[in-house]
């Protein structure tokens, strides 16, 4: 029914026999039979790992989507605090680093050691630039009090929003209504919908925000007006936007830092000349990881900075 293939015994050499250096080079782990098998295994492994990474972020994207669907006004208002130029710069930086990373993989495959080292160094610097810009943005937010949850105490208005447009009590900024005490649950019998912030679950998520008035009013012009991006009182729970912002960019930032660490690791190994046409697996796998980190940012940027 089954016979041993001719090449099989040699594929699993007698463990007592001395290691054949030609068959088993130093980079090949003992339980793999060939460099190709090791490469394939690693490649499948890194793809699976990246799948889990994307799923990890997808949880956050999902939370973002649910909250935004329920409370669009929070996002429309709060995103005006963000500096979209810093965000755009970071996007360009990361896309450029993806290019250098992909080029580095090619250089490793071709055995161009010096080019490989240089490209990895550029990629690393791009990562560093990204983190520096991120730090500037975070510092701004600490400075302006636009932080998550109870730490949301803004000291200035968002970009393009004037006090006249922010129709509301003049002291709205000093005492932001970000996190109110829970509404007192007065219970006149049977009029549940009025007191509910989210209506009956069965009704679905549409129109869940009673306080939100679409800015496109009768004249229809205000919604695209760059002079007046926001007209109306500050919505409730703006702090949640910043919670989501810090969670998403924070988790992404940790991934960038991890990416920089592994790039540094392969940079050192490249300088030692460990990679070449015969063995470039780590460079390839780190490259894939770096692309996914970039990809996540490419989704984060419009979702957080460019809301309309």
């Amino acid at each position: 029914m089954s016979t041993i293939p001719n090449d099989y015994p040699s594929a699993l050499p007698d463990p007592n026999a001395p290691h054949d250096e030609h068959d088993h080079p130093s980079f090949l782990a003992h339980h793999f039979e060939s460099a190709q098998q090791q490469f394939d295994a690693g490649k499948l492994g890194i793809w699976l790992f990246l799948t889990t990474e994307i799923l990890l972020f997808s949880g956050l994207f999902c939370a973002y989507a649910v909250y935004r669907a329920n409370h669009p006004e929070v996002f429309e208002f709060a995103h005006l605090y963000l500096n979209k130029w810093w965000g755009a710069t970071n996007t360009v930086v990361l896309i450029f680093s993806s290019l250098t990373m992909a080029w580095a993989v090619r250089a490793a495959q071709l055995g161009q050691k010096k080019l490989l080292v240089n490209l990895l160094a550029v990629t690393l610097l791009c990562g560093l630039a990204f983190m520096v810009i991120k730090t500037i943005e975070y510092k701004d937010k600490i400075h302006h009090g636009t932080l998550f949850s109870v730490f949301y105490k803004p000291v200035q208005l968002p970009h393009g929003v004037t006090a006249e447009n922010l129709l509301g009590p003049a002291d709205a900024l000093t005492a932001p209504p970000a996190i109110d005490a829970p509404e007192v649950h007065t219970a006149p019998a049977g009029y549940a919908q009025q007191q509910s912030k989210i209506p009956l679950a069965a009704v679905g998520p549409a129109g869940l925000s009673p306080s939100f008035e679409p800015r496109a009013s009768a004249d229809g012009a205000t919604s695209l007006d760059h002079e007046n991006p926001w007209v109306g009182p500050e919505p409730r729970n703006v702090a949640v936007f910043f919670s989501i912002y810090f969670l998403m960019t924070g988790l992404h930032g940790i991934h960038v830092l991890a990416g920089m660490a592994v790039i540094l690791w392969i940079l050192i190994r490249s300088a030692k000349g460990e990679f070449g046409p015969h063995y470039y697996n780590p460079v390839d796998f780190v490259g894939l990881y770096w692309h996914v980190v970039d990809l996540v940012w490419i989704f984060l940027f419009p979702l957080l900075y460019l809301i309309h």
Partner: protein
């Protein structure tokens, strides 16, 4: 297929299911028994076959040769197809029941259920509230559930209904009671009614978050509503004459129905919250106070104590008595109101009750004279008790008490 036990049961409790007391229960039980008997049939086949095989084909010699039977596609299709058809059938019957459950009758009588750690508060259309649920017989009733803190659920096994109470959104469930509930006995062990449980784990006292459901005919139900709407007023069964109930008595009733005794004892036993026994005009130490330097002592006058009790119910975290933790949640939804409103008056009744438990309680002061506490007859309270605190106190209760209630119940 006619589930035999279902036909025989006639709505009484069976080995498997409790008494059927709602229209919904008939549908649910039919499906339950249908699945039970189908499952029993397949289970019997599987167990019988397994037993038969291990006896018939037991190993007789160590090296027996067994026939090579690797697969049989026809057989696979049959034993995939038949269960598939059955479960799809079960799905549709279950779906029909569920859709009935999701779409309340438009003339349903609405009762608001507020769930909190760890009791239920049922609010009726006339503003009356209770901690046990009273529902009219043979009339669609819709429960609108909300929660003030964590997840809870309302589950009435006799009606076969269950729904979660979710903070921040409202959920609803409806039923039509088709059986009268058992009448209450004379002892606390026999409270009568059907069980109502919280089935969604909600913390420390989850297991005591259950109450009773009483199914009443239209007339007793209407009477009950009037009684619930005005806790201060009662009718003397003999003379049929209305009279006012002493504040402390009302307070005791309200404390029970709002679940105060879950945490506060009245006999000095330790609990989650301070015991009420001898609390009034006792020497008080605070581990936390929102007003630094605030003190409260035996010598302080009634007004200061009243204010402290008042605040402790509405904003429990403001001052924490030494040795206790900030675990109580606000009862503002039930008792916060301007002076003279029913809510505020109810809170005063509770405070009055707490004060009666203290050693220095002098009795309520009516027209500047102490009122005797023993041998209180209704006549002694024929005066309007609101005069104790607020002249206009109970006015707001009176019109709402009777008129809409009787209408709704019919």
């Amino acid at each position: 297929m006619t589930p035999l036990a279902y036909l025989l049961a006639d709505g009484d409790a069976t080995f498997w299911l409790p008494k059927q007391a709602s229209k919904m229960a008939v549908n649910t039980d039919w499906l339950f028994y249908a699945i039970l008997y189908t499952s029993a049939f397949f289970f019997a086949i599987i167990v019988a076959a397994a037993l038969f095989f291990i006896i018939k084909y037991r190993r007789r010699a160590l090296n027996e040769t067994t026939p090579l039977i690797t697969h049989n596609t026809t057989l696979e299709v049959i034993w995939t197809g038949i269960p598939l058809l059955i479960v799809i059938g079960i799905f549709f019957v279950g779906l029909k029941g569920f859709i009935d459950l999701e779409n309340p009758s438009s003339d349903a009588y609405v009762i608001q259920v507020t769930a909190r750690q760890w009791n239920f508060e049922f609010t009726y259309p006339n503003g009356g509230t209770s901690d046990t649920l009273y529902v009219p017989y043979q009339k669609p009733v819709k429960l609108v559930l909300s929660s003030t803190d964590v997840l809870h659920a309302v589950y009435i096994p006799a009606f076969r209904i269950q729904r979660n109470a979710i903070p921040g959104r409202d959920t609803q469930i409806w039923f039509t009671a088709t059986k009268h509930s058992p009448a209450p006995g004379n002892t606390p062990e026999n409270p009568g009614g059907f069980s109502l449980f919280c089935t969604q784990y909600c913390g420390n006292d989850h297991s005591h978050m259950h109450t009773r459901v009483h199914v009443l005919d239209a007339e007793p139900f209407a009477k009950k509503l009037v009684e619930l709407a005005n806790p201060f007023k009662s009718k003397d069964p003999g003379s049929n004459k209305e009279h006012w109930i002493p504040y402390a008595q009302v307070g005791q009733k309200l404390s029970a129905s709002n679940g105060c005794f879950q945490c506060h004892s009245v006999d000095g036993k330790a609990g989650t919250g301070p015991t009420w026994k001898d609390l009034f005009k006792s020497d008080h130490k605070f581990s936390f106070s929102d007003k630094p330097g605030y003190t409260l002592a035996k010598a302080d006058d009634d007004a200061k104590w009243d204010a402290y009790f008042h605040e402790s119910v509405l904003n429990p975290g403001a001052k924490i008595k030494d040795g206790f933790q900030n675990q109580m949640q606000s009862f503002a939804s039930s008792f916060s109101g301007d002076p003279g409103t029913a809510k505020d008056e109810k809170l005063r009744a509770i405070i009055e009750y707490i004060k009666t438990l203290g050693p220095d309680y002098q009795g309520p002061t009516l027209f500047g004279k102490p009122v005797p506490q023993d041998n209180v007859t209704p006549e002694m309270y024929e005066i309007q008790p609101h005069q104790v605190y607020h002249p206009e106190a109970l006015k707001s209760l009176e019109p709402a008490a009777s008129a809409p209630a009787t209408q709704d119940a019919k």
